[in-house]
């Protein structure tokens, strides 16, 4: 039976209604007059397009993997108490977001796997899932695509050689897509103040000059931040912590001769300094992020993309000897430069088929130094890494079936000149791996589709695990293990996307992620304290994500999701680890939220976030349990002035309304309830 035209067509409405907070006059998007409607929609939005699955924009119903899209207008209204991009995903299913503080990284997890198995991308080039989420500015982001399931054929590992080691897109990848299209000039000033002496101000402008589109933004934030460590821990404060953060970014987009032949450049600098609440625990960090892209749809069916990026991390900490002494012990400096590049060629052929092939590479320099109070500097670590990947993927459309398959050949080389202050006996390591990915989707009816995916990935050992950090048999540290193999993983998922009515969408996704040759760190000697990393185990994470969104009217919407996860580590050689849960992966996660309009034309949104039990280690005897708490965040806003030329909006954020000062790993603790009032002027 042919589906009634009108009934099927308007299933697009929820996608638009999801963005109903966008229109600057507070009216729902779909109720705007056509002239305004075309300004706030794009071809991408009308076509419900996603880019992460194939590197080219494709209709979401021709993509085998589930991709959750958070658009700019929704991002602007999501609570972000720690100003961390990871918090934007907190209310999507499967995501455990664990931002330790406003000055620290996110130690979350996704789909039952720890933070190293869910990579982040900035416009398709990898960034650090820990640090960059803290430094990048959400004002530069057009949308976030949360790609669920394995993505390691088209995207490489990120060779972060800092304390986190590598990051790989086995469980999923999250792509922060930069604003590329400037339709109308806009200038915006924002200012606000809140708890703990927090002040924030920013200026933003966008416009066009001929074929050049530009965005410029600068912002400053400062706070007498409250103590955020457990009492008596290494984070114990003896004075009020303080920080200042300055962010500046520039985005240029130049159309050479056609709208699909473009050069674009994005540069952001973030300066972050302050102290952690003790006289000699100050820090000063500088982050530079650059993305360059060349896009050329040079023939009817051919599209070439070249991307190059630089990520510079300059992090400096002072250390004391708390609790024995508050005196300065030393300064630690970490300088890291990572340069990813990607060349991708896409070819459309047949009826909706898409061939994608290309090569990517990364080059890494990693240095750490220690400076004594007297000024003497000693080199601690000097390492370099480079990787090369060749990939090919084919996507076919056969009536209602979508079929996808891909292969990647990855080569990774490490060179160690100095580790832990020593010249290591093992000064190089290299690995080559072949990876694969398969996926299918069946669109049974206009509102119902099923999909399944599987793919492999790997995680290289960190430098210190290969080269060790001990200088002699009697010193403490990590012993070298040059024969250490990468962890290998396979991700699988099976899901259903259902839209039973215009107002309701329901998604169900089951996942099974397995890791082989899992690297575990075993204690070899107590005195001296020595450990060695070995391929001794395997791990498995399985579970499901259930999502529902209900939008009965333009001024009322409701969503809820539930994730249940079961994880196990297998390490028969170590009874303390064998049978334990994967660290940082909560057994349950649940979210609910609603947005509605209050009397007085006040718009309100409230979010509830529940975290089940999770642990910080695979050691049964040494681990600590966390979680089992719920959080309520709310946001209210009202347009004080609105006319054709100006808009002034007042916003009130109420975070952690029930004042849950929950514990987190590494002795961190959430500081509890806080509020922030902001004013936003746009013209």
């Amino acid at each position: 039976m042919k589906t009634p035209r009108i009934a099927s067509v308007l299933l697009l409405a929820p996608a638009l209604a999801a963005a109903e907070t966008l229109p600057r006059n507070g009216a729902p998007l779909e109720n705007l007059p056509l002239a305004g409607f075309v300004e706030v929609t794009s071809l991408e939005q009308l076509g419900n397009l996603v880019v992460t699955d194939t590197k080219l924009e494709q209709s979401a119903d021709t993509v085998t993997q589930r991709i959750v899209v958070l658009r700019n207008e929704e991002i602007e209204h999501l609570p972000s108490p720690n100003r961390n991009l990871a918090e934007l995903m907190r209310h999507t299913s499967g995501q455990f977001v664990n931002v330790l503080s406003r000055n620290d990284a996110n130690w979350g997890s996704y789909a039952g796997l720890g933070p190293k198995y869910n990579s982040y991308l900035l416009d398709g080039l990898p960034i650090d899932a820990f640090v960059d989420a803290m430094s990048l500015d959400s004002a530069a982001i057009e949308r976030v695509e949360v790609h669920k399931g394995p993505a390691s054929v088209l995207y490489s590992n990120y060779l972060s050689m800092d304390f986190v080691g590598n990051q790989t897109p086995l469980a999923g990848t999250t792509n922060f897509v930069l604003k590329n299209r400037i339709d109308t000039p806009l200038t915006r000033f924002s200012a606000g103040a809140g708890a703990w002496g927090s002040y924030r101000g920013s200026a933003y402008t966008q416009g066009n000059a001929g074929q050049l589109g530009y965005i410029l933004s600068a912002g400053h934030e400062r706070a007498d931040y409250t103590p955020y460590g457990m009492p008596g821990s290494w984070l114990q404060a003896t004075q009020s912590p303080h920080y200042e953060k300055d962010k500046f970014f520039l985005k240029l987009n130049y159309a050479l001769d056609r709208p699909d032949h473009t050069l674009s450049l994005y540069y952001q600098r973030t300066a972050h300094q302050g102290n952690m609440g003790r006289p000699n625990r100050d820090f000063e960090h500088h982050y530079d992020t650059l993305n360059f892209a060349y896009n050329n749809a040079f023939a009817t069916d051919w599209h070439l993309q070249f991307k190059y990026g630089e990520r510079r991390y300059d992090r400096n900490f002072a250390n004391d000897a708390y609790p024995a002494s508050l005196a300065l012990v030393n300064h630690e400096a970490t300088r890291q430069t990572i340069r990813p590049a990607d060349l991708t060629l896409s070819h459309r052929h047949g009826q909706g088929a898409l061939l994608t092939l290309g090569v990517d590479a990364q080059w890494v320099d990693y240095e750490t130094d220690v400076r004594s109070p007297a000024g003497g500097v000693s080199a601690e670590n000097r390492a370099q890494a480079r990787s090369t990947g060749y990939f090919i993927q084919e996507k076919l459309q056969l009536d209602q079936w979508i079929l996808r398959g891909g292969l990647r050949r990855n080569t990774l080389q490490h060179d160690y000149a100095r580790l832990g202050g020593n010249i290591p006996a093992t000064n190089a390591a290299s690995w080559s791996k072949n990876l694969w990915s398969l996926g299918t989707r069946y669109n049974l009816s206009p509102g119902l589709a099923f999909y399944a995916n599987a793919g492999s990935s790997f995680m290289a050992p960190a430098a210190k695990q290969i080269g060790g950090t001990v200088s002699s048999p009697v010193t403490s540290g990590e012993l070298p293990n040059p024969g250490l193999k990468p962890e290998s993983g396979i991700g699988r998922d099976l899901g259903m996307a259902w839209q039973p009515s215009r107002e309701l969408t329901v998604d169900l996704r089951g996942f099974l992620n397995t890791l082989g040759d899992a690297i575990v760190t075993n204690i070899v000697s107590a005195a001296p304290s020595q450990v060695r990393s070995e391929n001794a185990g395997s791990a498995r994470a399985m579970g499901f994500e259930l999502d529902a969104r209900y939008t009965p009217s333009a001024h009322f919407s409701l969503f809820a999701n539930l994730t249940r996860t079961h994880t196990r580590v297998k390490d028969p050689s170590n009874t303390d680890h064998n049978g334990t849960e994967i660290p940082f992966a909560p057994a349950e996660l649940a979210n609910a939220g609603l947005s509605f309009r209050l009397p007085g034309d006040i718009h309100a949104a409230a979010y509830y976030h529940w975290v089940g039990r999770y642990y910080d280690s695979t050691s049964r005897s040494g681990r600590q349990g966390f979680g089992h708490f719920g959080l309520v965040n709310a946001r209210l806003y009202k347009d004080l002035i609105h006319n054709a030329r100006h808009e002034v909006r007042l916003t009130l954020d109420l975070n952690n309304l029930t004042d849950r000062q929950y514990r987190m790993p590494f002795d961190f603790r959430d500081p509890g309830f806080n509020a922030f009032v902001g004013v936003d002027l746009r013209y």
Binding site: R5, I6, A7, S8, V9, L10, L11, L12, A13, L16, P33, L34, A35, F37, V38, T41, S42, L43, L46, G47, N48, E57, Q58, S59, D61, R258, P259, D260, A297, F298, A299, T300, D301, H303, R348, Q351, G352, P446, A449, P500, S501, R502, E503, L504, V506, A548, Y550, P552, L558, A560, L562, E588, A590, A592, Y608, W610, G612, R613, H628, G630
Partner: protein, 177 residues
């Protein structure tokens, strides 16, 4: 001792129950106005991704044939800037097709065959939501599928009209012979 499964908070269970109930409720009547608005917005955005051999300096002329929800809406785009010039909408039916840069053919329009003959060799982008429009010699067709409005493009018709369709547009459309 048997371990009790952790229970979700009451609020969350209530919201899940509401959502479950909602899944059983009938769909609201679909407003045809939104469908028309989406199609009209498509027309506007598509123009950005088409290159003409030459364009008039003063305005880009969008001619509208027929009388349906989309054609009535397109009039609202008069004066909007696209390709660095304002849109001029001609909807009174007296236009000379060869003078248009874009021709939208509404659903009740019966004169498509006649218009098509007059457009032969002219650089005019033709768009319609009529069934089989692109297969029948039109350049861009709008059709419903999977709950969305989608595009189909006839590259041969575009070539005959001496128009260059951006690959970006082709990437999100299906091509028809």
């Amino acid at each position: 001792m048997k371990r009790r499964a952790p229970r979700l908070p009451l609020l969350l269970r209530c919201i899940l129950a509401v959502l479950a109930t909602a899944s059983l409720s009938p769909a609201h009547a679909a407003p045809g106005e939104l469908e028309a608005k989406i199609k009209a917005a498509y027309v506007f955005h598509i123009i950005k991704f088409v290159d003409w051999p030459s364009l008039p300096a003063d305005a880009l002329q969008l001619c509208v044939a027929g009388n349906d929800g989309v054609t009535q809406l397109l009039v609202d785009l008069a004066g909007k800037q696209v390709k660095d010039r304002p849109l001029k909408i001609d909807s009174d039916g007296s236009f000379e097709p060869a003078q248009c840069q874009v021709l939208y053919v509404g659903r009740p329009e019966k004169r498509w065959a006649e218009l098509q003959a007059r457009l032969r060799g002219q650089a005019v982008l033709t768009v319609s939501d009529q069934d089989g429009f692109a297969r029948g010699g039109g350049i861009v067709g709008l059709y419903p599928e999977g709950g969305k409005i989608k595009l189909e493009i006839n590259p041969d018709a575009a070539r005959s009209a001496n128009l260059r369709i951006s690959a970006k547009l082709l990437e999100l459309a299906r091509t028809v012979p």
